[in-house]
C-alpha cells in the first residue's frame, strides 16, 4: 500500500497493530477470512463512503474545489489529493468521481470555448488554450488519478480547439501570417496537431492564404514595379513559417509550392517578364547594394520563383533583350554573376533553353579577338584613322532582332566601316554584315570654356553633336535632314542633350519638350565637375512598344511551336482523336495555352491541308502526307 495521509488510514493501521497477532496467525491461515486491513476498508466503504449522502457531499465538495481552482483561486491541493486517493484506494474513483468530473469539465470548457472565441482575439485565445492544457496536466500530476489524464486532456482539446478549428483559422490565420507572429503560429501548429483533423484543416487555410495574398501581389498592375521583390519577400516569409513554425512539415511545404505555382500563373506573361527585368536590375553595373555572395543568394531565390512560371519563353525573350543591352553597352556588373545565372537557367530548363544566350556570350568573346586582330590590321594601313573603332559581331538568331535604322554617318565613319568590312569579309567570306546604328555608342572629345571634357554618348547623340563642328546653330528640321534620324528618336536625342541633366546644347526657345522649329546651339558655358560625362539617352515610352513587341514575338513563336508539335504528333500517329491529340500537345508544349487556341491552330492546319478530319467521325484527325 502506498502511504496516504488521511486520518481513517491511520486509524486502520492502529487497529491492525493492536490485532497484529490475530491478523498474522489466525486470519492469515484461514483463507476465507479477509485481513484486518481489507475488512477495515470494506467496512469504511460500505458504511461511510457508499452512503449516498456522504458520497454526494464529498464529491460535490471536491468538484466545487476544482471549479474554484479553475477560476483562479487557491485551494487545498493536499486535501484534494487525500480525498481522491481515498476514493481510488476504495475503488470508487471512476464511478463516484471521474464520470461526474468529466461531465463538469466538458460543460465548463464548452461554455468557455464559446465565450472566449467571441471575446478574445485569436493569439490571446491560443495562449489561453495552451495555458488551460498546462493547468489540467498539472492537476493530473498533483491530485487526479493518472488514468484521468487522457480523457481529461481530450475533453479540453475537443471543446477549446476541435469545436472551433474553422472559426479560429477564419478569424485569425491571415492576421497571424500578415503580422508574421511566429510564436503564435508555432503554437497554433502545435495545438492543431493534437486535434483530429486539425492539421489538414490548417493546411487548407494555409494554402488558401498563400493563393489569396500572392494573387494580390501578382494581380495588381499598379504595383507591378514591386511585384518581384514582394514575391521574394513573401516567399521568404512563408518559408520561415513553414520551417520555423510548422515543423518543416512536408505537406505544408508542398502546399506552399502548389499555391505559389497557382497564383503566379493566374496572370499570364507579366510575372515572367518582370522576373527577367528584376534579374537585369541585379546584374546591371551600378548595382552596389549587393556583394558577390549576396547577389548569388538573390539569384538562387529568383530561380525558386522562376521555377513556378509556366511560360518560360516569355522570360527568355525579355532576359535576352536585357542581356543584349548589358553586353553591348558593357554594363554588366560581373561576368561571374552572368555565367552563374546562365548555368542556373541551363540547369533548370535544359541546354536548348540557354543555347542562344550562350551564343551571345560567345559572340562577345569572339568579337574581342577580332578587335585585337583588327587593331594590328589597321596599324599596317597607310592612312591611320583618328577614330578608334570597336565592333561587336552579333550572330543573327542568337540576339534579339533589332529593326535596322538608316542614318547618315559622317564620311570618316563610313570609311572606317568600309575598312572593317574589308578586313572582316577578307577573313570570313560569304558572310553578310549589317550595321545596327541604334546600338552604337561613342566617346567624344570636346572643349568648353571651362576646359576639356569627354562625352560618353550614343551614336545618335554623336551624330547630332558632330554637326556643331560645322556650324553655330541648327533647327530640328536641319538636324533631321543632316542625320537622317527618325522623328521620335531625334526628339528624344535632342531632349537628352538640351533638356536633361547635362545640357551641352542650348535650346531656343527654352522648354522641356522639343517642338517643331526649335533651334539648337552649342553650350560653350557648360560646366560639370567630372571630366568624362555620360549623357543618358532618354529611354521612355519606347519601352512600352518594346515590351509589346517582345511579348508579341513570343506569342508568334508559340504558334509556330504549336503547329510544329501538331504536325510532329500527327506524322507519327497518322490518325488520332481530338482529345488524344490535345493531351499529347499539353505534354509536349512548355508554355500555357488554352484549348481554344490549340483548336485554332489545328483548324488552320486542316485548312492548309497538313491534316484532315475524318469524313465520318468529326473528332478524328488524319495526317496528310
Amino acid at each position: 500500500h502506498q502511504f496516504r495521509e488521511y486520518p481513517f488510514l491511520c486509524e486502520t493501521i492502529m487497529i491492525r497493530s493492536i490485532f497484529l497477532f490475530l491478523d498474522r496467525t489466525y486470519v492469515l491461515q484461514n483463507s476465507l477470512l479477509p485481513s484486518i486491513w481489507d475488512t477495515g476498508l470494506e467496512l469504511f466503504r460500505t458504511h461511510i463512503v457508499n452512503d449516498s449522502g456522504v458520497q454526494k457531499r464529498t464529491v460535490d465538495g471536491i468538484l466545487e474545489q476544482i471549479e474554484l481552482e479553475r477560476n483562479g483561486e487557491t485551494v487545498d491541493r493536499s486535501l484534494l489529493r487525500s480525498l481522491l486517493g481515498m476514493l481510488s484506494d476504495l475503488q470508487v474513483y471512476k464511478d463516484s468521481f471521474e464520470e461526474r468530473f468529466l461531465v463538469e469539465t466538458n460543460r465548463l470548457y464548452a461554455a468557455e470555448g464559446q465565450r472566449l472565441m467571441q471575446e478574445r482575439d485569436v493569439p490571446e485565445y491560443l495562449h489561453h488554450v495552451a495555458h488551460r492544457l498546462e493547468e489540467e496536466n498539472d492537476r493530473v500530476m498533483s491530485y487526479l488519478d493518472q488514468s484521468t489524464q487522457k480523457p481529461l486532456i481530450n475533453c479540453v482539446e475537443k471543446q477549446l480547439l476541435g469545436e472551433h478549428m474553422t472559426a479560429i483559422l477564419q478569424k485569425g490565420l491571415s492576421t497571424l501570417l500578415d503580422e508574421n507572429r511566429v510564436t503564435e503560429l508555432a503554437l497554433l501548429y502545435q495545438l492543431f496537431s493534437k486535434v483530429k483533423g486539425g492539421l489538414p484543416t490548417l493546411l487548407q487555410f494555409w494554402r488558401d492564404y498563400i493563393k489569396t495574398f500572392g494573387g494580390e501581389i501578382v494581380g495588381t498592375p499598379e504595383k507591378d514595379k514591386d511585384m518581384v521583390q514582394d514575391l521574394l519577400d513573401f516567399k521568404d516569409k512563408m518559408d520561415n513559417v513553414a520551417q520555423g513554425c510548422f515543423a518543416r512539415n512536408e505537406s505544408f511545404i508542398n502546399a506552399m509550392k502548389e499555391a505559389f505555382e497557382t497564383f503566379i500563373n493566374k496572370r499570364p506573361n507579366k510575372p515572367a517578364e518582370l522576373i527577367a527585368k528584376y534579374v537585369d536590375s541585379k546584374l546591371r553595373a551600378g548595382n552596389k547594394e549587393a556583394t558577390e555572395e549576396e547577389l548569388e543568394r538573390i539569384l538562387d531565390k529568383i530561380m525558386i520563383i522562376f521555377r513556378f512560371i509556366h511560360g518560360k519563353d516569355v522570360f527568355e525573350a525579355f532576359y535576352k533583350k536585357d542581356l543584349a543591352k548589358r553586353l553591348l553597352v558593357g554594363k554588366s556588373a560581373s561576368v561571374d554573376a552572368e555565367k552563374s545565372m546562365l548555368s542556373k537557367l541551363k540547369h533548370e530548363c535544359g541546354a536548348a533553353f540557354t543555347s542562344k544566350l550562350e551564343g551571345m556570350f560567345k559572340d562577345m568573346e569572339l568579337s574581342k579577338d577580332i578587335m585585337i586582330q583588327f587593331k594590328q590590321y589597321t596599324q599596317n594601313q597607310s592612312e591611320p584613322s583618328n577614330i578608334e573603332l570597336t565592333v561587336n559581331i552579333l550572330t543573327m538568331g542568337y540576339w534579339p532582332s533589332y529593326t535596322p535604322m538608316e542614318v547618315h554617318l559622317p564620311a570618316e565613319m563610313v570609311k572606317l566601316q568600309e575598312v572593317f568590312k574589308l578586313f572582316y569579309l577578307g577573313k570570313h567570306s560569304g558572310r553578310k554584315l549589317q550595321w545596327q546604328p541604334t546600338l552604337g555608342h561613342a566617346v567624344l572629345k570636346t572643349e568648353f570654356k571651362e576646359g576639356k571634357k569627354e562625352l560618353q554618348v550614343s551614336l545618335f547623340q554623336t551624330l547630332v553633336l558632330l554637326m556643331f563642328n560645322e556650324g553655330e546653330e541648327f533647327s530640328v528640321e536641319e538636324i533631321r535632314t543632316a542625320t537622317g534620324i527618325e522623328e521620335g528618336e531625334l526628339r528624344r536625342t535632342l531632349q537628352s542633350l538640351a533638356c536633361g541633366k547635362a545640357r551641352v546644347l542650348n535650346k531656343n526657345p527654352r522648354g522641356k519638350d522639343v517642338e517643331d522649329g526649335d533651334r539648337f546651339n552649342f553650350n560653350n558655358d557648360f560646366k560639370h565637375k567630372l571630366f568624362r560625362i555620360k549623357i543618358n539617352q532618354i529611354q521612355m515610352k519606347e519601352t512600352v512598344e518594346e515590351q509589346v513587341s517582345t511579348t508579341e514575338r513570343v506569342f508568334q513563336d508559340r504558334q509556330y511551336q504549336i503547329d510544329a508539335a501538331v504536325v510532329r504528333i500527327m506524322k507519327m500517329r497518322k490518325t488520332l482523336s481530338h482529345n488524344l491529340l490535345v493531351s499529347e500537345l499539353y505534354n509536349q508544349l512548355k508554355f500555357p495555352v488554352k484549348p481554344g487556341d490549340l483548336k485554332k491552330r489545328i483548324e488552320s492546319l486542316i485548312d492548309r491541308d497538313y491534316m484532315e478530319r475524318d469524313k465520318e467521325t468529326p473528332n478524328q484527325y488524319h495526317y496528310v502526307a
Partner: protein, 229 residues
C-alpha cells in the same frame, strides 16, 4: 426496242477518292415501256439549245433552262441537279457535265427532266445523300480563287440547305451577322451540318472540349450568354 432497260450504272469514277462527295447514284430510273430510249444525239442537241455554239451553258442559257423546266434558279432542286451533273461551278454546266449527268439521268429533253423532278426532290430526304450534296455545295459555290466561302455566299447556301431542317438556323444566322468572320472554310462548313444534326436545340449536349471548330464554340458561347440575359 422495247421492254425494260438495264439501268446499271457506269463504274465509279477512278478519281473517286480525290473528291469529297460520293458520286451520285440514280435509283428507280426505269423507263416506262413504250417510251423512246435515251438518245445521245438528242441530248447533245438539247444542250446546244441552251449553250448556243459554246461548250458551256452560261448564265443566260441557265436562266432559260430553269424557266423551261419550271424551277426557280435559287431552288434547292437546282443544287441537286448540279450535284448529279457534278457541275464544278455555280451558274455553269459544261458540255461534259451535261452529257455525263443527263445520260445518268436518262434525260435527253426538257419533258423527261421535268418528270424527274420528284425524284430529285426525294434525294434530299436521304441523309447520306443530303450530306454529300451539302459537302458538294461548298466547292460548287466557292469562288475558285479562294479557299473559303465568303460569308454572304455561305449564309445563302446555308439558308438553302438547312433552313427547313435546323431549328437553330435563324439563331446561327444572327450569330454570323454579328461575328467578325469574313468567310467559312471547308472544315467549318462540314461541321455546321454535323452540328445541326447532332446538337440539341438547347445545346445541352454540346461538348466544349470536343473537336468542334472554334466558330461553333463561339456560337454556343454566344447563344448561351444570350439566353441567360
Amino acid at each position: 426496242a422495247s421492254g425494260v432497260q438495264d439501268n446499271s450504272l457506269p463504274d465509279s469514277n477512278p478519281n473517286y477518292k480525290s473528291i469529297f462527295f460520293t458520286r451520285p447514284q440514280i435509283r428507280g430510273s426505269r423507263l416506262i415501256s413504250g417510251e423512246k430510249p435515251f438518245s445521245n444525239k438528242k441530248c447533245l442537241a438539247w444542250f446546244h439549245e441552251y449553250a448556243g455554239p459554246d461548250d458551256v451553258v452560261g448564265p443566260e442559257g441557265m436562266e432559260k433552262f430553269c424557266e423551261d423546266i419550271g424551277v426557280e434558279p435559287e431552288n434547292i432542286i437546282m443544287l441537286v441537279l448540279a450535284w448529279l451533273l457534278e457541275a464544278a461551278s455555280m451558274g455553269f454546266f459544261t458540255k461534259e457535265e451535261w452529257l455525263r449527268g443527263m445520260t445518268l439521268l436518262q434525260c435527253d429533253c426538257t419533258e423527261r427532266l421535268r418528270s424527274k423532278m420528284d425524284y430529285l426532290r426525294c434525294e434530299l430526304n436521304d441523309s447520306a445523300v443530303f450530306k454529300n450534296i451539302y459537302r458538294y455545295a461548298f466547292d460548287f459555290a466557292r469562288d475558285k480563287s479562294q479557299r473559303s466561302l465568303d460569308m454572304d455566299t455561305a449564309k445563302s447556301m446555308l439558308a438553302l440547305l438547312l433552313e427547313r431542317s435546323w431549328p437553330l438556323f435563324p439563331v446561327f444566322q444572327q450569330f454570323l451577322e454579328q461575328s467578325k468572320y469574313k468567310g467559312m472554310n471547308k472544315d467549318q462548313w462540314y461541321n455546321v451540318l454535323e452540328f445541326s444534326r447532332t446538337i440539341k436545340e438547347d445545346l445541352s449536349n454540346y461538348d466544349e472540349d470536343g473537336a468542334w471548330p472554334v466558330l461553333l464554340d463561339e456560337f454556343v458561347e454566344w447563344q448561351k450568354a444570350r439566353s441567360v440575359s
